[in-house]
């Protein structure tokens, strides 16, 4: 099985879906000739031509809004926001329009569109190239938000998103793009949206997280295994709507739960995960639910000292896991 990077899995999924279905096309800033600022659409312009790998004007609301129109006509647009931080001008189109079109038309119209955006920090991206923006969209029924953690999941979930008949926000961790490599089958496969995935079986403590933090948790778990602490790791994969059953099962399994996100703590995805556990697992818990997240500051500063202070890393996760195990 070939080994590929996280971003190569993105490109592979796009290429295969464009080969499979002529209704699939890509639009965004710099996605064409340049192949994307991260090179996620590398080679697609040459293979599929300008019409299906469309460089758009620098205007995010139009990228989302034109995508919505094309989707209503029957195409399957994959829109790229160059950085998740720059999705804000498109929020009206995403929340007022894409999320509500099926509902408000009583199932008459729908929007089979995927919006890809690189998110996350640890790349010297400062305030506006580092943010996690999923919580902005995670209380908008009608949207689905997918945040994969491995190249295998990237390919299977991006294909599923493109084939989905509702709008999907697909957030890719930009530090994972070249940092993470893994085996990815060459053949066609899709993974279910809305399903979490157990990334490590364990019996002492449960870590529930998503995105790059899954790897920090896995690294921490290997170290703690040497100390006899056996961690169970659930990767949410889809952060909206949440896989409640998997969350309840994972929390119940060990009774000790640590939730991890790179986002600010208050109002983040893991707050909702904590609420699901509180509602359903009271008598199965052996410790208060713990949360490890970014500090309550607007975004990640540029200077390496402050950036490092903000970011989650394996050491921070290990420390939190150990404290929970010893509770």
């Amino acid at each position: 099985m070939p080994v590929m990077s996280y971003i190569q899995a993105v490109t592979a999924a796009l290429r295969e879906e464009m080969q499979r279905d002529e209704n699939v096309f890509v639009l965004g800033e710099d996605v064409g000739k340049k192949g994307g600022v991260f090179r996620a659409t590398d080679g697609l312009f040459d293979e599929f031509g300008e019409a299906r790998v469309l460089d758009t004007p620098l205007a995010e609301s139009a990228i989302a809004g034109v995508g919505i129109g094309a989707a209503m006509y029957g195409l399957r647009p994959v829109a790229e926001m160059q950085f998740a931080d720059f999705i804000m001008p498109a929020v009206n189109q995403i929340i007022s329009e894409a999320a509500k079109i099926r509902y408000r038309s009583n199932n008459d119209w729908n929007v089979p569109m995927t919006i890809r955006a690189p998110y996350g920090g640890g790349v010297h991206g400062a305030l506006y190239h580092s943010q996690s923006v999923e919580a902005v969209f995670a209380n908008q029924p009608g949207l689905k938000i997918v945040m994969p953690s491995t190249p295998y999941d990237v390919k299977g979930l991006l294909k599923a998103s493109i084939r989905d008949n509702d709008p999907v926000l697909f957030f890719e961790h930009k530090r994972a793009y070249r940092l993470l490599k893994g085996e990815v089958p060459e053949e066609d496969y899709v993974l279910p949206i809305g399903k979490a995935d157990i990334k490590r079986e364990g019996s002492d403590i449960t870590i529930i997280t998503y995105g790059l933090c899954v790897h920090f948790a896995l690294q921490a778990a290997e170290k703690l295994a040497e100390e006899g602490i056996d961690a169970h790791i659930l990767d949410l994969r889809t952060v909206y709507p949440l896989d409640k059953e998997a969350i309840i099962d994972a929390a119940t399994k060990t009774g000790k739960v640590l939730l991890v996100t790179e986002d600010n703590k208050e109002g983040s995805i893991i707050g909702e995960v904590a609420a699901i556990i509180a509602e359903n697992c009271l008598f199965d818990l052996d410790a208060p639910v713990q949360r490890l997240a970014g500090p309550e500051i607007p975004s990640m500063p540029y200077a390496p000292t402050m950036e490092k202070y903000f970011m989650i890393n394996p050491d921070k996760v290990e420390k939190a896991m150990k404290e929970l195990a010893e509770f």
Partner: protein
């Protein structure tokens, strides 16, 4: 209006009479909705009155079997011309389950009907403009010989989506026609406090497309402008911006009192130019709308509006738990 203008545009007597009937039907449905609102039977009305000529003139210049429209909340004339029925509009007014626009989920005026290629609309203004551009992009990619028409008010031409959408259409030379129905008011704020340029049409220049200002009270002038724009679009020459100038004859909505911000004299003056009067006069002068025909038209429309009202009033609401459906594909 000078004589025989419709024939010069290639329109038959039957076609212009059809246009007039549809303008009148829109007006009469609208007036009925106000009565129902004031009688406490429906909670909200937002009006097409004063803009019927632009809406019908534009729609009749399109291929109403294949083209797409992205209307805004005043476009009762557009959706009627594209195949929505009086009954369906009344079902929307009463928020009943059979309403094809939304099954009673949205306020009246939030149009949408896939079978008639009417894109679904929302309340935040101008969001529909990029959608129409997207339809045009998709049609161009598939080489389908159609155009999309998007309409909006002049206040909406200040939104980012107006400028982002028109620029996108201009760059990619897409077959989309944007018609701004300039009724001179964005709720209470008059045109001179909305737009710095002399006309809305002037804004086209920045987006590499022609912009035309036409008399929105004259359905034939609007027809001609949209027909030319459609020809350009179909020939691959790209988008067009059209500003149809008329006047909003009612308050903004049933919840607005326009006496607080404009003089009744101004409204009275505008009513003299009401297209329902001026176009009727043209048709009378052309011997198309005789007294007999006019009576017949009025009777037919009154009957249609009555039947639609009765049907919709007696139709069922959605079940409460229907609110849970169609968030995602089922």
């Amino acid at each position: 209006m000078s004589q025989n203008r419709h024939k010069e545009l290639g329109l038959t007597d039957e076609q212009v009479l059809h246009m007039y009937k549809m303008m009148l039907l829109a007006r009469k449905i609208d007036e009925r909705m106000w009565l129902l609102n004031r009688a406490g039977k429906i909670p909200f009305v937002i009006s097409c009155q004063g803009q019927e000529a632009a809406q019908i003139g534009a729609s009749f210049a399109l291929d109403r079997e294949h083209d797409y429209v992205a209307p805004y909340y005043r476009d009762m004339g557009v959706v009627l011309a594209f195949g929505m029925t009086s009954k369906e509009l009344m079902l929307s007014g009463f928020a009943k389950a059979e309403d094809p626009n939304s099954g009673g989920r949205q306020m009246p005026g939030h149009f949408g009907q896939k079978k008639n290629r009417i894109l679904t609309g929302s309340s935040p203004v101008t969001t529909q403009l990029p959608h129409a551009v997207g339809v045009a992009l998709a049609a161009k990619m598939r080489k389908d010989p159609i155009v999309s028409l998007v309409t909006l008010g002049e206040g909406s031409s200040n939104q980012g989506d107006f400028h982002e959408g028109l620029n996108f259409a201009g760059v990619h030379k897409l077959p989309v026609i944007t018609m701004v129905e300039n009724n001179k008011y964005a709720i209470s704020v008059p045109i001179e406090k909305q737009i710095a340029s002399e006309t809305v049409a002037d804004r086209a220049q920045g987006y590499g497309m022609p912009g035309y200002t036409v008399d929105g009270n004259d359905p034939l002038a609007v027809y001609e402008a949209v027909k030319n724009a459609r020809e350009r679009a179909i020939n691959g020459e790209g988008p067009t911006l059209i500003e149809a100038v008329s006047y909003r004859l009612t308050a903004h909505s049933s919840d607005d009192d326009d006496r607080t911000y404009r003089e009744s004299k101004e409204v009275d003056e505008a009513k003299k130019k009401d297209s329902l009067i001026t176009f009727a006069k043209y048709l009378q002068d052309e011997n198309i709308l005789s007294e007999d025909v006019e009576k017949q038209v009025n009777d037919e429309i009154a009957k249609e509006v009555n039947e639609a009202t009765d049907y919709a009033e007696n139709a069922a609401y959605a079940q409460p738990e229907d609110a849970l459906r169609y968030v995602y594909e089922e």
